[in-house]
C-alpha cells in the first residue's frame, strides 16, 4: 500500500540535546514532511506549564457553570432579594491584588537568585512569605464578610442571592487555599534549593488567575446581588 517514506530525523544536537529522559517530542513538531526537522522542532514546554492551563480551564468551566446557574436562577424566579455586599470585600480585593504584585516581585528576586547572582539576593523567599501572608489575610477577610452577613441574619439558605454569595465566595476561598498550598510548596522547594523555575511560574499563573477570578466574582456579585 502507498505509505510515505520518512528520512531518519536529523536531530540537531545544539538545539535538541539528549538529556536522557522522555520528552523532547516538540510542541510545534507537527509534520516534518520535508525532513528538515531543525525548523519544525521546538522544545516541549515542561509538563507543568501546560498542566496549569488544564487546571485553569477546569476552574473556569466550574465557575462558568455556577455563573450560568446564577443567571438562570435569578431570571426564572420572583423570590430574589438583593442585599448590600459587606464593604470588607473591597479591602479583601485590594489584598489579593497586592499579593499578585508581591508575587511578581518575588518571582524576579527568585529568578536573580536562581540565575546564580545569589549574593545580590539575601532572602529570596521573603516576598513569597509576604504573598502568603496577604493570601491568608484575604481568606480571613472573607471569613469576616461571612460573619457580618450572618450577623445580619443572612444565611446560606435565607435567599437564593445569599446562597450564591456563600457558594461562590466559599468555592473561591477553597481555590485560594489551594494557591496558598502551592506557595508553601514553592517556599519549601526554594529553601531546599530544588525549586524549578516552571514550578514557580505555574504557581504564579494560578495565583494571578485566582485574583482575576475574584475581581470577576466581585463584579458579578455586585451587579446581581
Amino acid at each position: 500500500m502507498a505509505t510515505t517514506v520518512h528520512e531518519p530525523p536529523q536531530i540537531e544536537p545544539r538545539r535538541l540535546p539528549d538529556l536522557g529522559h522522555s520528552g523532547n517530542g516538540g510542541w510545534r513538531n507537527l509534520v516534518p514532511a520535508d525532513g528538515n526537522r531543525g525548523v519544525a522542532l521546538d522544545y516541549s514546554p515542561p509538563p507543568s506549564s501546560s498542566a496549569i492551563w488544564v487546571v485553569l480551564f477546569a476552574v473556569t468551566m466550574m465557575f462558568a457553570a455556577f455563573t450560568s446557574a446564577l443567571f438562570v436562577r435569578k431570571g426564572s424566579s420572583l423570590d430574589w432579594e438583593t442585599f448590600t455586599l459587606p464593604s470588607i470585600l473591597y479591602f479583601n480585593t485590594l489584598l489579593l491584588v497586592a499579593s499578585s504584585v508581591t508575587l511578581e516581585v518575588s518571582r524576579r528576586r527568585v529568578a536573580v537568585f536562581m540565575g546564580g547572582i545569589k549574593s545580590q539576593v539575601e532572602s529570596p523567599a521573603r516576598w513569597l512569605y509576604i504573598t502568603l501572608f496577604l493570601g491568608l489575610l484575604f481568606v480571613g477577610g472573607q471569613y469576616v464578610a461571612w460573619s457580618q452577613l450572618r450577623a445580619e441574619g443572612l444565611y446560606l439558605a435565607t435567599n437564593p442571592s445569599s446562597s450564591f454569595f456563600y457558594l461562590l465566595t466559599a468555592v473561591h476561598a477553597l481555590h485560594v487555599l489551594g494557591g496558598l498550598g502551592g506557595l508553601i510548596y514553592v517556599i519549601r522547594k526554594l529553601s531546599k534549593s530544588v525549586l524549578r523555575r516552571n514550578q514557580l511560574v505555574a504557581t504564579a499563573r494560578y495565583w494571578h488567575f485566582i485574583g482575576i477570578l475574584w475581581v470577576y466574582l466581585l463584579l458579578l456579585l455586585w451587579m446581581k446581588l
Partner: protein
C-alpha cells in the same frame, strides 16, 4: 531548556508491596487498577440488569437472594416498583460512569498513552494515583447506598430535579441515597479531572524525539481528545452535584420550585429552576456519550489497521472527525430536552447540530468500511470485536437520525426505542471496544496470550446476543412501550409481553456468555502462553518494548521515532511492516512499482 528533562516524569522503581500494587505511582499499575474496577463494576451492573429483566418478564417471580439485598425493596425476592427503579438507577450509573468511562479511557489510556508517546510515566504520578483512588472511593460510596435504610436513589442516572433535591418525601432512596449518589459522582468528576490533568500534558509534552503530533497513533489521539472533553464536561457536572447536595442538606433552592407538593406534602423550598439541572446535567451528559465512544473509535481503528496490514484511507480525516465529534458534542445537548418545555426555537437550534454530528460519525464509518474493502483482514478476537463495534455503532447510530428530529422524538421519547438506541450506540458498542482492546492488549498488559478460541466463541455469543436483546427494543418503542415502568399492566402492552420474555432470555444467555470472557481473562492471566513482545506484528511504540513493559517502560532507553504510526504493507527486514522506533528505511509497494 534543561527543564525539559528535569520535568519529564521520573520516579524510582517501587520496592514495597503497597507502592507496587496498591498506592502505585506507575501508570501501568494504575491502568490495570482502573481495568479491575471497570470489570467489577460491569459484573455488578450486569447482574442488576438481570434482576430488572427477570422482573420485567415475570413480575411476580421471586429472585433468589434478592431479599438479602433489600428486605423492604424485595420482600421474599419479589421487587417492588420502587426497588425496580432503584436497581435501574444503579445499573445506569454504574455502567455509564464506572464502566464505559473508566475502561476505554482511564484504564487503557493510563496503561498505553505514555508508552505510545514514548514517555516513562505520566508527568504527575501522585495525581494519577489520586485519580484512581478518588474514583474508587466514588464507586464505594455509590455501592454503599445499597446498604443504607431505603436503599439507593430511584431517580435514574440523570437524577432529574426536583426529585433529586426534595428528600425522602419523593420516594425510597431519595434521602441518603441521593446524597450518596451526588457525592459519588462529584468524587468521580474529581478523579477524571485529575486524569485529564495527566493525559493532556503527557500527550503534548512528553512525546519522544520524532513523535510529531500526526505521528501519534489514533488511540493516543482518541484519549487526548477524550481527556479534553472530560475536562470540560466533568468540570460542569461537579458544580451541578454540589448545588444539588446543598439543596438537599442545606435547604437552599437552586433546583426546587416554589409551591411544590410531593406525596401530598408542601416542600419548603422556593423559586428554584428544574430546567437548570437539566441544562447543567446534559451539558455534561451528551459529551459523556462521546467520552465513552471516542476511545473505542481510536482502539478499533488501531486494531483494524494492525490486522488489515495497511493504514486507514486517511489518518488525518479520522483525527479531525474525532475532534469534530468532541466539539459538536457540546452543541447538541439540548436534544435530550426536546420535551422539557424549552422554547421551540431552542429545539430547532439543538436539532441542527444533532443532525450535523452524524456527518463526522458517518465519515469515520465510511473510512473504516472502505479501508476494510479488499483488505486481507486477519481474523482474531480483537478484530472480530472491532467489526462488532462498527456494526453496533452503525445500528445504534441510525436510530439517532430519527430521534434527532423533535417531531419524531416527541413520539418516541421515553420509550424503549430510546433505550435500544443508546444501549447499542453507547453501551454495547463501547463494550465491544473494551473487549477488542482487551484481546489486543492483554498480552502486553499481563504478559500472557489470551485463548483465541474462547475469545471467538465469546464474540459470536455476544454479537448475536446483543442484537437479540436490543433490536426488539426498537419495536417495543415504536409500539409505544414506555421505559421506566416496572410492570406492564396496560391492555395495549399485553401483546408485547412475549417480546419481553424473549429479551430477558437473550439477556440472561448473553450475560452468561460474558462468564466465558471472565474465565478466559483470569485463566490466561495465570496459565496462558507467555506473550512475545510483538504478538500482532504492530508498529506503535507499545510493541517496541518488553512484555510486560518494565517499570520505566523502555528499560532506561529512550526510543526515537522515525516513521508514521502505521507503516504496513511495506517490505522491511522484519516483514510487511516497519516499527515507529526502527531507523530502517523502507520502500512502499507503490514506489517499487
Amino acid at each position: 531548556m534543561h527543564d525539559v528533562a528535569a520535568h519529564a516524569a521520573h520516579h524510582a522503581p517501587p520496592t514495597s508491596f503497597i507502592r507496587k500494587h496498591v498506592f502505585s505511582l506507575d501508570h501501568k499499575v494504575i491502568g490495570k487498577q482502573y481495568y479491575g474496577l471497570a470489570l467489577l463494576a460491569a459484573i455488578v451492573g450486569m447482574v442488576l440488569s438481570w434482576f430488572m429483566r427477570i422482573h420485567l418478564a415475570w413480575n411476580s417471580a421471586a429472585i433468589p437472594g434478592l431479599q438479602l439485598l433489600s428486605k423492604n425493596g424485595a420482600p421474599g425476592g419479589v421487587m417492588t416498583p420502587e426497588y425496580y427503579l432503584q436497581l435501574m438507577t444503579m445499573h445506569g450509573t454504574i455502567m455509564v460512569f464506572f464502566v464505559l468511562t473508566t475502561a476505554p479511557f482511564a484504564a487503557f489510556g493510563n496503561f498505553f498513552l505514555p508508552i505510545q508517546v514514548g514517555a516513562e510515566d505520566m508527568p504527575f504520578p501522585h495525581f494519577n494515583m489520586m485519580s484512581f483512588w478518588v474514583t474508587f472511593t466514588g464507586f464505594v460510596v455509590l455501592i454503599a447506598s445499597f446498604f443504607v435504610p431505603d436503599g439507593p436513589t430511584l431517580g435514574g442516572w440523570t437524577q432529574y430535579a426536583p426529585l433529586n433535591a426534595v428528600g425522602s418525601v419523593s420516594g425510597p432512596g431519595q434521602g441518603t441515597g441521593v446524597v450518596l449518589w451526588m457525592a459519588s459522582i462529584a468524587l468521580f468528576c474529581v478523579g477524571q479531572l485529575l486524569g485529564s490533568l495527566n493525559f493532556i500534558p503527557t500527550t503534548l509534552d512528553l512525546r519522544v524525539k520524532g513523535m510529531s503530533l500526526l505521528r501519534l497513533p489514533l488511540t493516543t489521539w482518541a484519549w487526548f481528545i477524550t481527556s479534553c472533553m472530560g475536562l470540560t464536561a466533568f468540570a460542569v457536572l461537579m458544580p451541578a452535584c454540589i448545588l444539588a447536595i446543598l439543596d438537599h442538606v442545606a435547604g437552599t433552592s437552586f433546583f426546587v420550585p416554589s409551591g411544590l407538593v410531593v406525596s401530598d406534602q408542601l416542600v419548603p423550598h422556593s423559586g428554584g429552576s428544574t430546567l437548570l439541572w437539566q441544562h447543567l446535567f446534559w451539558f455534561f451528559g451528551h459529551p459523556e456519550v462521546y467520552i465513552a465512544i471516542v476511545p473505542g473509535i481510536g482502539i478499533v481503528s488501531h486494531i483494524l489497521i494492525t490486522n488489515m496490514r495497511k493504514p486507514m484511507l486517511s489518518q488525518r480525516v479520522l483525527i479531525y472527525s474525532m475532534g469534530a465529534l468532541a466539539v459538536l458534542s457540546y452543541m447538541v445537548y439540548g436534544h435530550h430536552m426536546f420535551v422539557s418545555g424549552m422554547n421551540p426555537y431552542s429545539s430547532l437550534a439543538f436539532s441542527f447540530p444533532t443532525l450535523v454530528i452524524t456527518i463526522p460519525s458517518t465519515i469515520v464509518v465510511l473510512i473504516w468500511t472502505f479501508s476494510l474493502y479488499g483488505s486481507k483482514l486477519r481474523i482474531n478476537s480483537a478484530s472480530l470485536f472491532s467489526l462488532g463495534f462498527i456494526s453496533m455503532f452503525v445500528s445504534g447510530g441510525v436510530s439517532g437520525f430519527f430521534l434527532a428530529q423533535p417531531s419524531i422524538d416527541i413520539m418516541l421519547h421515553a420509550t424503549y426505542f430510546v433505550v435500544g438506541h443508546f444501549h447499542l450506540v453507547m453501551g454495547v458498542a463501547a463494550m465491544f471496544g473494551i473487549f477488542a482492546g482487551t484481546y489486543f492488549w492483554a498480552p502486553k498488559m499481563f504478559g500472557r496470550m489470551i485463548n483465541e478460541t474462547l475469545g471467538k466463541i465469546h464474540f459470536w455469543l455476544s454479537f448475536v446476543g446483543a442484537y437479540c436483546i436490543f433490536m426488539p427494543f426498537h419495536y417495543l418503542g415504536m409500539a409505544g412501550n414506555v421505559r421506566r415502568y416496572s410492570t406492564f399492566v396496560d391492555d395495549y402492552l399485553q401483546p408485547l409481553i412475549p417480546v419481553h420474555h424473549f429479551i430477558t432470555v437473550a439477556a440472561l444467555l448473553t450475560g452468561a456468555a460474558q462468564l466465558i470472557f471472565v474465565y478466559n481473562l483470569i485463566h490466561s492471566r495465570f496459565w496462558g502462553k507467555p506473550a512475545p513482545d510483538n504478538p500482532w506484528e504492530g508498529t506503535s511504540l507499545e510493541w517496541s518494548t518488553a512484555t510486560p513493559p518494565p517499570w520505566d517502560n523502555f528499560g532506561g532507553k529512550h526510543p526515537v521515532v522515525y516513521h508514521d504510526p502505521y507503516q504496513y504493507g511495506v517490505q522491511s527486514s522484519v516483514g510487511d511492516y516497519v516499527m515507529q522506533a526502527s531507523p530502517e528505511q523502507v520502500k512502499t509497494e507503490h514506489e517499487e512499482k
